[in-house]
Structure formats: structure tokens, C-alpha cells
Symmetry: C2
């Protein structure tokens, strides 16, 4: 792996503050740089996966197919985000959701068998896994809660305020799907606010 990437990932993993130098180097060894072109599918819904990606640059969406055969966006990932269908990764069952690159994407790939063997060898990497899973849970939970008690207008306002960069990088049709509203409703909310 080239030097600049190594130093970026060192910085990212060091920020969790649980790995020794040996653990960090062992972790870096299993990372494999991969690239996806715009619109490329990283994981198709209904297929199995044994990969986790860490985004270095670019944007990705997570989506599922509903009973009307429409795609519904659930999540957007950017720099330093972890991309994984956790339910499928840990159970080895078909993933309900899929991932697609929204921009040219640079990422690091982690294979399940490599990760699990590091978990066996390094208690501290198992700890890193636990902590990253906890943070992944916490970061998605609060956004999911919004759907329980905010209407479309409030969800739109919250997204505008808390993640304005999304409107720069993601098309309105993807954002509408993510907000659980139609393109037309999103257009009207934008005009109103």
C-alpha cells in the first residue's frame, strides 16, 4: 500500500486509541486498496459479502429494493466512513441492502477471514472491532430515530442543517429517497424553506 494512504489510515485508526504499534501494523497489512468507478455496485442486494470497505475518497449510498421494486436509500457514506452490510457480513446470509458508488471511489478493503484471524491474534483488534461497531450503531441510531417522530419537513430541515454537504454531493432524487419522500415533495420543501 502506498505511503500516503498508510499514513492516512494510521491516523484514522490511531484516533480510536486502542492499538499498539504492532496491532496497528498487523491491521494495516490486511487492508487492500480498491477503486470503484462512479455508479459501480460494491454489493448487490440479495447477495453475500465478506468485505468491509473504508472510504478514502468519494461517496457511496446504501439502498434496498422495496416491494414495488423501487430502490430506497438508507445511508450515505463519505471519507473515513466504514461501508458494510453488517447483518450479512456477520451472518454470511444474503444482504438485504446494497451499496453503490455515487462518485469515483477510493477505498480500503477488509476481508472477513483476515479480520477474524486478527481478532484471534490480537485482543486489542477485537477491541477496535467492538468500539467501531458501537460507534457505527450510535451514529446510525440517532438518525433512524428521526423517522419516528419528525415529519418530512422536519427531517428535511434537520438534514439541511446537520449535513449540508450532502446536498452538494448527492442528487435530489437520492436525497428524496433517503428522506422517505417523493422528488416532488422535496422540491416543494426546498422552495418553501
Amino acid at each position: 500500500m502506498e505511503n500516503e494512504i498508510t499514513s492516512r489510515i494510521e491516523k484514522l485508526i490511531s484516533s480510536f486509541d486502542v492499538l499498539s504499534e504492532a496491532g496497528l501494523q498487523a491491521f494495516i497489512k490486511i487492508l487492500k486498496p480498491v477503486n470503484f468507478s462512479k455508479k459501480e455496485i460494491l454489493l448487490a442486494p440479495g447477495t453475500k459479502t465478506e468485505k468491509i470497505y473504508i472510504v478514502l475518497s468519494g461517496a457511496v449510498r446504501e439502498f434496498l429494493i422495496n416491494e414495488k421494486e423501487e430502490e430506497v436509500n438508507l445511508w450515505f457514506g463519505f471519507e473515513n466512513d466504514f461501508v458494510v452490510s453488517l447483518a450479512a457480513f456477520v451472518s454470511n446470509k444474503d444482504s438485504k441492502t446494497g451499496f453503490q458508488a455515487l462518485e469515483e471511489l477510493e477505498a480500503l478493503e477488509i476481508c472477513r477471514k483476515d479480520l477474524y484471524s486478527l481478532y484471534d491474534d490480537f485482543h486489542e483488534i477485537e477491541r477496535l472491532g467492538r468500539i467501531i461497531t458501537e460507534q457505527y450503531f450510535v451514529s446510525t441510531e440517532s438518525y433512524h430515530h428521526d423517522f419516528h417522530y419528525l415529519n418530512a419537513n422536519d427531517r428535511f430541515n434537520k438534514l439541511t442543517k446537520e449535513r449540508p454537504e450532502i446536498f452538494q454531493r448527492v442528487s435530489l432524487s437520492h436525497i428524496a429517497s433517503y428522506l422517505g419522500i417523493t422528488i416532488e415533495t422535496l422540491s416543494r420543501l426546498r422552495a418553501k424553506n
Copy 2:
């Protein structure tokens, strides 16, 4: 801890299939039986927490207070469920959500400092923590996704089909709040279906 409880918790933890006998016994040592009466608050929204509970019997709800000062239910827990505001537990910040017993509740309490010291001493218990966190994530995620693409009627039907026992144990007003609809709308959906 009395014998019957010990054997139940042994069975529950053994089902994860990661602990040695020594790890299991160490884990059981930190569990403290606690009881809550019906309607008692386990954790108030806006307060800190260093506890995880494992439900032995009874029912509990997780809720938050929205900007109209109304309670919104987010989750219901029953036998063998883990009860924790993970965001608050891991960050030691105020919890956005709270927990309340819906029935007389028997539970086992885990203290953060005890758990973290077991994490230090037993790699395998850190692994248990990782796996339970993953499963907690997976089980809540799929239900959260329903809010992205199902309307009130479909969410109601799915709950009726997948968790019929909830309607036996939880009042309609709590279920309506959980489904993100008014009591009146729930009443009409029930009459229609």
C-alpha cells in the same frame, strides 16, 4: 445470585458460544439481580448511565421526548433482551432516550466499570461484547429500515405478523407511539384489518 437465575443466564450466554467456563463464571459474578416495579423508570432521558440490564422477566420500553414534550416509544424489550442506551453508556454523556418498566421487571444489572475490567482481563468477554453489539445492531436496523419505506398501514401489518405478542403485553397507546401514528389512526387500522 440464586441458582435458577444462574442457570438461565448460563444458558443465554452459552448460546453465543464464545466463553470458556472461566470466562462464563467471571461474567456471572458481575451480574446483580435487580427488580423494578411496573411504571418505574430505569433510566430518565437526559441523564447519564453506567448500567446494562438483561431482562429476566417483564417488559420495558425505550422512549425519547420530542420537541412537543411528548414521549415517543422507540423499542420494546422482553425476556432475554439487553436494555441499554448504548450511546450514553459508551460516551458517558446524557442519554437522549429513557427506559421504563411496563410490567413488574426482573433483570440482571451490569456495571460499566465491572464490564470494562472483564474486557481487560478476558479477550473472550470482549469478543462476547463485540458479538452482542453486532446482534443488537442487526436486530434494530431491520426494524428501523421499515420506517424508510413502509406507510403506517404496512408498518402495522408487519408488527402484527412478526411480533403479535406485543399486542398482548403493550397498551395501544404505546404501540401507536412506537408505530409513529396517533391512537386514532391505530384504532382505524385495527378496525380495517
